[in-house]
Amino acid sequence: MASQVRSHPSRATWISPQWLDKKNPIIYTLERSIRGRSEIKFGTKALWVLALTAFLAKPLYTLAPDSKSRKNRISLHTGLFSTSIRDELGSPLTYKGSGIPLYLSYRFAGSRNRHTAALLYSRNQLTPNRYFSVGSHNMQHSRFSFSYGYHHFLMPVFKNRGKVFLGVIWDTHISLRELGYIWNFSNSFGDRISSLDASFFLETRLGRNYRLSFQLDFPLLAVMGRTSYNQRDVETEVVTFNRFLRLKNSFSLERILSPRFNVRFEYRFYYYRYPEPFPVYSAGDHYLVGLTIKL
C-alpha cells in the first residue's frame, strides 16, 4: 500500500511534481532545485548572477539622472545564513540549518529619496538538531525573495551626518520545503507572501570612509499563500498587520574603497509567523559581505 497523490488540473496547485506548473520558471526552478535534481550547480548560479549584474550595469548607468554623482549602486553579496522553520502541518519540531545565500541588490541613492530592488536566493538543509535512534530526518529548504522599496527623506539626524527616511516596500518571498524522513518518506510544503510594508531607514556616515545604515520593515497588508491541508492546493488569504506578524531588519556597514567601489557588510534578520490552523514559524539570520559598484 502506498500513498495516493491527487492530480486536479482544474485547481490552482503547486509544490508536488505532478501539478507543478512548468510555465512558471521561478517555481519550476526552485522545485527542481529543492528535489536535488537541478542540473545547475550553485557556483554556476553565482556566475549567472554576476553576468546579470554586468548586463544590467550599462543600462542602469545610462538611466542615472546624474551619472557623475554615482547614485546608482549594484551590490552582489554572499556569506552565511541560518534558518529555523517550524511547519506544524509537517512536524512538531523546529528545524534549523545554515547555508550560503546569494543576494543581489540595486539602489538609487538620491539626496531626497531612495529606490531599492533586491533579489535573494538561498538553499540549505535543515535538521531538528536532535539524535533519533531511527535515523536522521532533514528538510531541504529553498527560499527566494524579491523586494522593491521606495524611501523618502524625513529629517536629518546626528548633526546632519545622518538621514532618516520613511517608505514602503513591496516584498515577495517563496519558501519551499521538502521534509524527508527516514525510509525515504517525504512531505512537501511551501509558502509565499507578498506584502506591502512600512519601512524605516536610517543612514549615517562614520568618519570619511564608512557608512552605517539600519532598516526596519513592518507589514501593513499581505497576501499569503501556504500549502493547504491537502499539500496540493494553496490556501491564499489577504491579511492585515494585526493577524500577520513579520519583522525584517538589516544593519549594514559600507566601506568606501574608491569612487567606483564599496565593500559592504550586512546583517539581515527576518521572522514571520502564519496564523492557525496550521501555523508556520520561520526565522533567519544572514551575514553577508559583498561588493558594491557605483554607477
Binding site: 500500500m1 495516493q4 492530480s7 505532478q18 519540531l93 536532535r130 535512534s133 534578520f269 533567519g284 551575514y287
Partner: protein, 339 residues
Amino acid sequence: MKSRDLIILFLVLMTAGSCTDFFMPSSPDDTPGNNFETLWLGFDKYYSFFTHKNIDWDQIYRQYRPRVTDQTSDEELFAIFSSMLSIFKDGHVTLHSSLGTYSYDGWWKNYPLNFDRDIILTCYLKGLYQNAGGVFTYGRLTGEIGYIHISSFASRERCYLEIDRILEELQTMKGLVVDVRGNGGGSTVNSDRIASRFADQKRLYQYIRWRNGPGHDDFTEMEEVYIEPEGQQRFTRPVALLTNRGVFSTAEAFVLAMRVFPRVTVIGDYTGGGSGNPIYRELPNGWVYRLSRWQSFTPSREIYEEIGLRPDIRLDISGEDQAAGRDTILDRAIAILEE
C-alpha cells in the same frame, strides 16, 4: 572613528539582531508523555474517519494516557501506540520506529487470497508473456483475449507510459482482462493514466473531501474527480477487471475509474477498502506515523472505507480450481469476454 570601534559596533548590532532563538518556538522535549500527546493530537487534528468508524477519540485518550509515564520504555511506548492505533482498522495508519513498524493488515489477511500469479503465468499464458515497466505482465489468453496484470501504481511515472505500447500490441483483441489483484496502490497520476486509455468519454468517477478543521467532521466541500480519454492508444472494447481484497488505496481509485466505463465488468472479490489519502508526520522522538486525511466516495456518494468496492460479479477461486491449476475468477472473465 577608528576601524576597530566600527567593527565592534557592527558586531554588537549584529548580535543584537540575532533573535532567531528568541522568536522561534522550541521543539517539544522527547519524553514519553510528549510523544503520546503529539500522536494523539496529530490524529485528533487530521484524521478523517472518526465518525465513519465510530471512534470516541477522547475516550481513547482517557484509556491510554494513564499508561504513559516518564518511566515508560520505548518498547512499552511502541506497544501502547500500536494498540491505540489498531482501533482504526485502517491500512493507511502506520507507525514506524526503531523497534519495528505497526500496520494494520486485517483488510486483506482475513480474506481469501483469490490470486495466484504462478497459475496465470504457467497455466493460462503458458509461459508466453512479457513484462514491461516493472509493473506490467501481459500476453494473450486466447487468440482474441488479451491479459494485462498491473502489480502496482507506485513506480516512477515513466514506467506507466508502457501502457501505450502494450495496448498497441493487443489492439486486435476482441476483449481484454485487466488484472489488478494484489495491487496495493501508489499514485493516482499513474492509475489515471492507465484508466484514461480505456475511457470512452469524460466521466465522473469519484468524490473526495478533505479534513480541514479541528472538528472531527470538519471537511471541505465534495470535490468531483473525473476520468477522460487520453493517450496514443485506447481500448474501448469489452474489458474484464479482476479484483480481490489485496486491491487497496490508489488501486481502488483505479477500479472506481474503470467501472464507470460501460464496457467494463468487475469480477472477483471486494477490494481492500482503503480510501484515505495519507500523510506522514513525526513525533518528538523521531518515530514517523501515517494517517488518512480525506474521504473518498463512489459517484453515488457511498463511502467504501473499510468496506471495499463491490464487484459486478462476486466470485472466489474455489479450492478445487486452485488445486487443478485453474483461476475461477479468470475463467469467468474469459467466458464473459467470449460471449
